[in-house]
Amino acid sequence: MNDAAWIDAAIIAARPQAVGALLRYFRDLDTAEEAFQDACLRALGAWPKNGPPRDPAAWLIMVGRNAALDGVRKRARQTELPDEAAISDLEDVEERTAERIDSGDYRDDVLRLLFICCHPDLPPAQQIALALRIVSGIPLRQIARAFVVGEAAMEQRITRAKARIGAGDAGFETPGPVERAERLAAVAKMLYLVFNEGYSAPDNPDRAQFAGEAIRLTRLLLRLYQAEPEIMGLLALMLLQHARTPARFDGEGQIVLLDDQDRGLWDRKMIAEGLALIDKAMRHRRPGEYQVQAAIAALHDRAATPADTDWAEIDQLYATLERLTASPIVTLNRAVAVNKVAGPEAALEMIAPLGERLSGYFHFHGLTGALNLELGRHDAARCAFDKAISLANTAAEAAHIRHHLDRLAAGHEPK
């Protein structure tokens, strides 16, 4: 990898920390972002000459802060200062920073930056867009393409979202333990949204990258909060799911179900990391939804073949998850395990009461169709698949159901 690529990677990696600290100094998101941009420009000039600093985030914070303060002074005096005077002594920056940056503040900076994106007034799609723009620094153009809107429209959305959050509620004092726990929970939820946005959209490469970005941000969060089992669980869950991505779609972009996936394509490095994390998390004996979901994903990833899958254990874990979340979607997922353990009749019985609450949910009708098909009830299956196809969220989902319907129409049993 060449120097320019390395500098890019270092700037991307340092961004959440640096923008988070600059936000604490200036208490204004736009000023913080501008200061960071300024610092990056200077880094592109200084790092190739002097070599990259040992702590890129600290360098960017100090230089960004000085540049922004100088901008304020310049505007106040209405006079021009020579450009290089903006930063008195670039070489000296690192040493001074090392003394000043308190690592305790540092970690709450990143959490705060993530937390302001989770403002409850913002719909999930805007939270995601805002986090990707502010925290990850993903170009507006790419976010717009990911959400299939024009760049101007996306810019307007983000500007509006920023105005909405105002940064007023974010709380710039160091949070107490309860507040910190609440922030972590909100941020975890938002990061999982970012992940799913990417995970569920393989046909949109701009959006698919969000899955990796969510993993990166969650890993960063865990590094700052090492002893949080739910953050370990969340990162494990993302890794254990994302590891299967290379096998989830065939050459034509059609969904390949877990049972039919080529397990040799799964990313073993990600699985190893996910398994290590869930192992660590479970030692705390403080179960939470992400940990349980990760444990379920782990059982799938550990199975060398579909027949090796421990469905009885998965059923038990879903029962635990039902108690933790009381979500009908969890019951729906549990029914898949029940089908393997006790058969399609038992599974249908389990999901029948969900019909009203999940009537608009693609997977409910998809599973209802598949279970009826297994029982040879072709009319009921066709009816459910018809509903499912009208609710499909992606082309791949629709194609998968279309495949079932075509085979039903042709009069043979789909496999």
Binding site: M1, A5, W6, A9, A10, I12, A13, A14, P56, G212, R216, R219, L220, L222, R223, Q226, A227, M232, L235, K269, A272, E273, L275, A276, L277, D279, K280, R283
Partner: protein, 128 residues
């Protein structure tokens, strides 16, 4: 003489590389490794998973288990073991046995991302 080359870098940056960039780095490293291995000069080489996957066992009595990497700077890295185990509990069990035999300091238990066994190296005079 046997030497260990210990790798240090910023893990936020390294683990933020995309698949393509990381593949390029790994391929470049493999090209350096191949002739060394053929010459019988390269033993095991490995890449560790991020520090977020680490657990630390302090060799106190009883041993204290902490999430995350060994973060103190008072002690120095003196050696390491590679173990093949079913899970973290088993690895911690081994660390406890080793700690009882050799008290003081700590073990950081870090899972591996990549393991290349390399060539068996012939320097028997290093065996304990």
């Amino acid at each position: 003489m046997l030497y260990a080359l210990l790798c240090y870098n910023d893990e936020d940056t390294v683990w933020a590389l995309d698949r393509k960039q990381d593949g390029e780095v790994m391929a470049a490293l493999a090209a350096v490794r191949a002739p060394l291995e053929a010459a019988g000069k390269l033993g095991p080489s490995l890449r560790l998973l991020p520090t977020t996957a680490a657990t630390t066992l302090r060799k106190s009595d009883p041993p204290l288990i902490i999430d995350g990497p060994y973060a103190e700077t008072k002690e120095q890295l003196l050696g390491f073991y590679i173990v093949d185990v079913a899970d973290l509990d088993e690895a911690l069990g081994i660390a406890k046995q080793l700690g009882a035999a050799n008290p003081g300091g700590a073990y950081e238990i870090r899972p591996l991302a990549v393991y290349n066994p390399g060539q068996p190296l012939g320097a028997t005079d290093h065996a304990a």
